[in-house]
C-alpha cells in the first residue's frame, strides 16, 4: 500500500506543490496557519482539482477528517449522522460519551463534542488512507492523548496527520513541513527530527540540550534527556 504524488494545487490565487511518497504508518505534516496544509490535504483526498500525478497503489478506501467538524454534518440527528458514515450508533456514541444524546441535533454539540464525534466515526471506519486535517483542534488534553493512541493503533494503514499542534503529538514514522508553497519531506524518524522545521518548542529545547529523542512525543523527549543525564 503506497501513495505517491507529484502535484501542484492552485486555490484562490494560492499555490502549493508536493512531491512525496507515503507508505503504511503515521506521517506528520506540519506547517504554519495558512501555509497550505488544508489545500494539500483536500487535494490528496481528491476533493479539489490538482495538476500532476497522484497514485494510490493498493489503497482501497480513503477518508478525510476536515479541520472544522461542522463541515461534515449531513444529518439533523446524532444517530443519523453516525449512520451517514455507514456505522452503527450503538457502537460509536457510547465510546465518546454521547449515547444519551442520540436524538440531538449535531450542531447543538460544542465544537469539541463535534470533533470527537467526527474523529470517532473516521477512526471506526478504519480506512486504508486516513487524512486528518488539524485533528487536535478543539480537543482537551485528555481527548488529544486518546486520539494519539488511536492514531498509533492504526497498524498497516496510511495516516497523514496535517497539524500545527505544539503540545500533544503521537509517535510518527516520517516528518514533513509545508512552507513557501511547497511540502518539504524531511524523511523517517528519528533521523529527520533534527531537521524538522515544524518542531514544537519541547522538541527544539530537547535538541538544543544535546539530547536526541527517538520520536516526537513528550515521553520521547523526556527519555532522551534522561538518557543523556545517565
Amino acid at each position: 500500500m503506497r501513495m505517491e504524488m507529484d502535484i501542484i494545487v492552485a486555490r484562490g490565487g494560492f499555490q502549493v506543490a508536493c512531491q512525496a511518497s507515503f507508505g503504511p504508518g503515521v506521517h506528520m505534516i506540519s506547517g504554519q496557519v495558512g501555509s497550505g496544509k488544508t489545500t494539500l490535504a483536500l487535494a490528496m483526498a481528491s476533493l479539489i482539482p490538482y495538476q500532476g500525478r497522484l497514485d494510490k497503489e493498493g489503497v482501497g478506501d480513503v477518508l478525510m477528517s476536515f479541520q472544522f467538524p461542522e463541515h461534515h454534518i449531513t444529518a439533523s440527528r446524532l444517530d443519523d449522522e453516525v449512520r451517514s458514515w455507514g456505522l452503527d450508533p450503538e457502537q460509536v456514541l457510547p465510546g465518546i460519551g454521547l449515547d444519551d444524546r442520540r436524538g440531538s441535533d449535531p450542531l447543538h454539540l460544542s465544537r469539541g463534542g463535534l470533533k470527537r464525534l467526527n474523529l470517532a466515526c473516521v477512526l471506526a471506519r478504519d480506512p486504508d488512507l486516513l487524512i486528518l486535517d488539524e485533528p487536535f483542534s478543539s480537543l482537551d488534553c485528555v481527548a488529544k492523548s486518546q486520539l494519539c493512541r488511536a492514531i498509533e493503533d492504526r497498524k498497516g494503514k496510511i495516516t497523514l496527520l496535517f497539524s500545527h499542534e505544539r503540545s500533544v503529538l503521537p509517535r510518527v514514522d516520517t516528518l514533513s513541513h509545508v512552507e513557501y508553497g511547497r511540502l518539504i519531506h524531511h524523511g523517517t524518524v528519528p533521523g529527520s527530527i533534527a531537521a524538522w522545521q515544524g518542531a514544537p518548542p519541547y522538541i527544539r529545547q530537547t535538541l538544543q540540550s544535546g539530547a536526541r529523542p527517538e520520536n516526537i512525543t513528550h515521553k520521547d523527549a523526556r527519555e532522551a534527556i534522561c538518557r543523556m543525564r545517565d
Binding site: 483536500l42 476533493l47 476536515f66 461534515h72 451517514s84 455507514g86 450542531l107
Partner: protein
C-alpha cells in the same frame, strides 16, 4: 465599471427598462452584449442552467395558461444577465461607501453595513454548499431529495451561528448606530458612457410601452 454609484444606478435603470416592456428587455440584452465582458460575467454554468430552466418552466406555464410567457422569459433573462454582470463587478466595501455617500454616516452607515454583511453571507453560503458537497463525497453519499432538508438546515444553522457571532462582535466593539467612513470613488470615462447608454435603454422601454 469602477464607480459603484454609477454601476448601481445603471443596474437599477436597466432592470427597470427590461421589466417595463419586451423591447426594453431586448434593448437591455443588446446593451449586455455590446458593453459588458458577457460570458466572463456569468455565474457557474450549472447554476445558470438551473435558473434558466426554472424561468423556462414558469414561462411555459404562463404561455399555456394564456399569459405572456415568452415576454416574461426574455425580460427575466435580461434582468438575470444584468444582475450577474453587476455582481461580478462588485468590490468588498463599496455598498457601505455608496450607502454612506447617499444617506450619510448614520442611517447610511447602518444600511450599508447590513448590505455588506448580506453580501458576505452570500459568499459564505456558497462556501458552505461547497463544503457540504465535499462532506457527501467523503462519506460516499449521493445527493437525493431526502438529503436536501438536513443539508439546508445545516447551512441555515451555520449562517445563524455566524450572524450571532457577528452581532456579539459588533456589540463588544461598541457599535450602537452609525459610523465614521469617508467614501472614495474612482470614475472612469467609460463609466459615464455605460450609465448614459442605460438611460437610452430605459427611454426605449418607456416609449415602446406607450
Amino acid at each position: 465599471m469602477q464607480d459603484a454609484r454609477l454601476r448601481i444606478l445603471t443596474t437599477i435603470v436597466l432592470s427597470a427598462g427590461a421589466f417595463i416592456s419586451l423591447y426594453g428587455a431586448l434593448a437591455t440584452l443588446a446593451w449586455w452584449l455590446l458593453l459588458t465582458p458577457r460570458w466572463k460575467a456569468l455565474p457557474h454554468p450549472r447554476i445558470l442552467l438551473w435558473v434558466m430552466v426554472m424561468i423556462a418552466i414558469t414561462s411555459l406555464v404562463s404561455e399555456l395558461s394564456g399569459g405572456e410567457g415568452f415576454s416574461y422569459m426574455v425580460r427575466m433573462i435580461a434582468i438575470l444577465l444584468i444582475a450577474a454582470w453587476a455582481y461580478s463587478q462588485r468590490q468588498d466595501g463599496e455598498l457601505l461607501d455608496v450607502s454612506v455617500w447617499l444617506m450619510g454616516k448614520r442611517i447610511g452607515f447602518d444600511i450599508g453595513l447590513t448590505a455588506e454583511m448580506g453580501m458576505q453571507s452570500l459568499g459564505l453560503i456558497k462556501q458552505d454548499i461547497q463544503q457540504v458537497r465535499q462532506a457527501m463525497a467523503v462519506k460516499g453519499m449521493k445527493f437525493s431529495v431526502f438529503s436536501i432538508l438536513p443539508l439546508a438546515a445545516n447551512i441555515v444553522m451555520n449562517q445563524l451561528r455566524r450572524t450571532e457571532e457577528m452581532a456579539k462582535m459588533l456589540t463588544v466593539r461598541g457599535y450602537i448606530r452609525g459610523g465614521e467612513i469617508e467614501p472614495h470613488f474612482h470614475t472612469a470615462r467609460i463609466d459615464y458612457l455605460l450609465a448614459l447608454s442605460s438611460l437610452l435603454v430605459l427611454t426605449t422601454a418607456i416609449l415602446s410601452y406607450y
